[in-house]
Amino acid sequence: MAQRATNLFSLARQALSHHRNWPRLWAAAEPRRHYQAIIIGAGGHGLATAYYLVREHGLSDVAVIERGWVGGGNTGRNTTIVRSNYLWDESAHLYEHSLKLWEGLTRELDYNVMFSQRGVLNLAHTVHDVREAKRRVNANRLNGIDAEFLDRDGVKAVCPGLDVSPTRRFPILGATWQKRGGVARHDAVAWGFARAASRLGVDVIENCPVEGFLIDNGVCKGVRTGKGEITADKVGIVVAGQSSVLAGMAGFRLPVTSHPLQAMVSEPIKPVVPCVVMSGQVHAYVSQSDKGELVLGAGIDRRNGYGQRGSFPVLEQEAAALLELFPAFSRLRLMRSWGGTVDTCPDASPIIGRTPIDNLFINCGWGTGGFKSTPGSGWVFAHTLATGQPHPLNAPFSLDRFTSGALIDEHGAAGVAH
């Protein structure tokens, strides 16, 4: 095993030279003519797919092709909430598989992804919320997922900063509590997978947009890129907000629409939010970064949009929602905001599997909530590409569920954009 990426000594040594001499984490690769598998999109999901293709399925010859830079899409723009407390069996199994991978990910990648299992609260503000929350807790437990229902005092004990007084407009009546949920460092996830994949021989090719597909008689033979044509036995599309555009290049349509999703951070303050707090009712989700900033996520802008920016009123609403939960934050200043482009699906569940074109596969539709499934998504998609068949975990998430009617409606558990 090669030397570790970071340790106390390398930190000290690099500090002496003002951090100018850190080695590259992954090799800069130029495309070869042919690969066993090409993954389009170097977000977390694409990189994880490439990693597991080599690591679990023994492929030796894999490329990840990225039009911009590693982790520059939603992976590097999200609010990093990780949990697995989804309602339906299909989702519960998929997200829980991912959460288990998260628990060993730093060791697996030999790179600190700063996965912090600080617990996730999903607040209930109405009698109906409470019923739904309890139903979800029970469903989770039947699926072996850690879940508890906390009453008002329980919520206050976990997160004392929340205003739980009954006089609020949206009083907090209780919450679901998943202790194993938490947050991770988004950039580190992309970099860790890129580094680990590169060490296994995967070519990570940046600044190389895919502009079309080589399709012969309904069979995909490769891609056309800004750096020329590259052929491959199998191709996987993992491009989040750009999924419809890539599907269009291959001549098929997807039931997804692309929307702006925004987030923002406050100035850094002392530790005050010890866990992740989410509320579907007032539509807020917040956690506190190690630097002390509050990380706040907004809802999607309803309109379609590819501009990686949304409208100001959406941020204003998010701030108002936060103050409903934590009136004490009213004087906090916001430092910066940004946006990504998310691909939302009609049933708030992803699409992972085959396309109408042979040897062309797609992993998309994660919308506002796919960061949590980064390792699991890559793991099942690698299986799908390597064997040509979905793994039982992702079989229910096929594209043809929209024709068969077997939708997996997770609007309740997805709740807020997260």
């Binding site: 419809s244 349509r253 997807l254 309803r302 309109r303 409208s311 100001f312 929209f402 068969s404």
Partner: protein, 103 residues
């Protein structure tokens, strides 16, 4: 924030409007005659272009009427708006030609 021009009321802030997605979708005349794939297409498949898009908006906090717009989804520029009973302007016609659902 977008400024959108309601064909009846003139330019207003985006917050006055609701969004209705792809415009000029037509409910199949004879739904029971469709097979599952065609029905799924009507229910779930929408155009999702990066660039000019013909879409519906409703002036919820104004005249409460629906209308159509051509907007570039990449730049957010609103290129044209028009009433549902008007013939679509050139900008819309060009997009509609390539738009699958626009029958």
């Amino acid at each position: 924030m977008l400024r959108i021009s309601c064909p009846w009321c003139g330019p207003r802030d985006e917050t006055e409007f609701g969004y209705g997605g792809q415009a000029h979708l037509k409910r199949p005349d004879n739904p029971e005659a469709l097979d599952d794939a065609a029905w799924a297409e009507f229910l779930f498949l929408r155009d999702n272009p990066e660039g000019p898009f013909v879409e519906r908006w409703v002036h919820s906090h104004g005249c409460r009427r629906w209308f159509n717009a051509v907007r570039d989804t990449k730049t957010d520029r609103v290129i044209a708006t028009y009433r549902p009973d008007e013939t679509p302007p050139e900008a819309a016609k060009m997009v509609l030609k390539g738009q699958e659902g626009g029958r």
